[in-house]
């Protein structure tokens, strides 16, 4: 990929650039999907149950939202390295490893924000649902459904975090050309090579994606207000 004109590359749909964008989206979207699968039930569980150490768990989740990506990357690298406990899976320096690392980063965000949403909603609904004799499982699904707009915004926040980070995926992915190179890792590389115009081109695409995600988040919130009052 030459740096003649970053804009040219974008508008003519240079295949290498498209491959990088596609990989970035696949990695971050997969991470958010898996994190949602784990994080939403986890957040709901913590929100609705009293157990010893609950306060500690809540503080831990909130703290882990700010887990430095390089730390997460290092931890996952040590796990997946051939010399590590999960080395036999052969996942190091693959897109799967990148998905795992980003999932680790995003789960706390989704769990912590889900917990907050569900807990607030439960405070509001508790008496009514108890008086209506609603079974425990149904309570959880009711809260998740009624809180769906906030939860979607949570997912978008998780995606924003994943799409923007570079520290974790560069460590576990190796920034391999054509295989584990994403927008953020490519920007890091091109900048360190002094090829700033290409880095800026990629940066523009990344910012465009971030803007789209935030606009989506805003419209979802508005739609939610309109629909549910």
């Amino acid at each position: 990929m030459h740096s003649d004109s970053a804009l040219e590359l974008i508008f003519t749909g240079d295949p290498a650039l498209l491959a990088i964008v596609r990989l970035s989206l696949i990695v971050s979207l997969s991470a958010v999907a898996i994190a949602a699968f784990v994080g939403i039930p986890l957040g709901a569980l913590v929100a609705l149950n009293r157990f010893s150490g609950r306060e500690g768990v809540i503080v831990l989740l909130n703290t882990l939202m700010g887990l430095p990506p390089v730390v997460a990357g290092l931890a996952v690298y040590l796990l997946l390295s051939r010399s590590g406990p999960l080395g036999s899976l052969g996942l190091i320096f693959t897109p799967t490893a990148m998905i795992i690392a980003q999932t680790v980063l995003v789960i706390p965000i989704i769990a912590a924000l889900t917990r907050q949403t569900i807990e607030d909603l439960w405070d509001e609904y508790r008496e009514e649902l108890t008086a209506m004799n609603v079974r425990v499982f149904r309570r959880v699904t009711t809260l998740i459904w009624d809180g769906r707009f906030s939860l979607v915004v949570t997912l978008l926040a998780g995606f924003g975090r994943a799409a923007a980070e570079v520290g974790a995926i560069i460590i576990v992915g190796g920034n391999i050309n054509g295989y584990t190179r994403t927008m953020t890792t490519a920007i890091a590389l091109e900048t360190s090579k002094g090829d700033l115009s290409l880095a800026m081109g990629l940066g523009a695409v990344l910012i465009a994606i971030v803007i789209i995600v935030n606009t989506l988040a805003w419209s979802v919130r508005r739609a939610g207000e309109k629909m549910a009052g």
Partner: protein, 238 residues
């Protein structure tokens, strides 16, 4: 009316409810039987809300015993409660009713939903988001939700407290109609006029204790206890 063992009579046997030095109910012995409405009156903090919530099964007595139709445990299947500030589910008006029906395991037929809307005068508002209703409309929706569950006992906690006179009248009329249809109504109110309009029997509470209990007309015209007289004269505040 629902099949199965009846929740009535609801029997309070020396029931106390209190936490950490604050007593909300003080050795209440009371029998709530089928028949005309039971109206709970009393100043703020007298225990009306706590008594209703205990009768509903939401609050456990710290002392004493409460039974429903003789049973010590009774899931809230045959009774329903309307809270003072009811929470609206983040759904449409019909959605709220639909939810109430389904959690009571009653088929969610459109005709039934429309019937309930009619009963409380909310026809045509089915699609509106419930949270965008006015205060009076929300109270009526809460009432419809409670009725949707086909209860034998309907508990109401000051349903007209924050409403204007027109809405108040509408709700009182609905409640009277419900009482006439055979559902046992237990209602707390601070409005003596409402107590008289709804009629039935009156229970005066003060500091968590039953002060006096009598038929509505008898109580309002010739109260026996000193506190009752003071209350009717507007002098029993706390």
């Amino acid at each position: 009316m629902r099949a199965g063992a009846s929740d009535l009579p609801i029997r309070f046997e020396s029931v106390s409810v209190g936490t950490r030095g604050v007593t909300m109910l003080d050795r209440i012995t009371l029998l709530i039987e089928a028949g005309p409405p039971t109206v709970l009156i009393g100043p703020n903090g007298s225990g009306k809300t706590t008594l209703l919530r205990t009768a509903m099964g939401l609050v456990r007595p710290t002392q004493g015993r409460i039974t429903w139709g003789g049973a010590e445990k009774s899931p809230p299947v045959q009774r329903a409660i309307v809270f003072q500030r009811p929470a609206m589910l983040r759904r449409s008006v019909s959605g709220n009713l639909s939810y109430a029906l389904s959690t009571a395991r009653i088929p969610r037929r459109t005709e039934r939903i429309n019937e309930l809307l009619s009963m409380v005068g909310l026809d045509g508002l089915g699609k509106r988001p419930a949270r965008r209703l006015s205060g009076g409309e929300q109270q009526r929706l809460a009432l419809a939700r409670a009725l949707a569950r086909d209860p034998a006992v309907l508990l109401l906690d000051e349903p007209t407290a924050s409403l204007d006179p027109a809405s108040t009248k509408t709700i009182e009329d609905i409640i009277s109609a419900i009482a006439v249809s055979g559902i046992k109504v237990v209602i707390a109110t601070h409005d003596l006029g409402e107590a008289r309009r709804i009629g039935g029997e009156i229970v005066l509470l003060h500091h968590g204790r039953v002060i006096e209990r009598a038929g509505a007309t008898e109580f309002l015209n010739a109260p026996k206890a000193d506190e009752a007289k003071a209350f009717l004269a507007g002098e029993l505040l706390v």
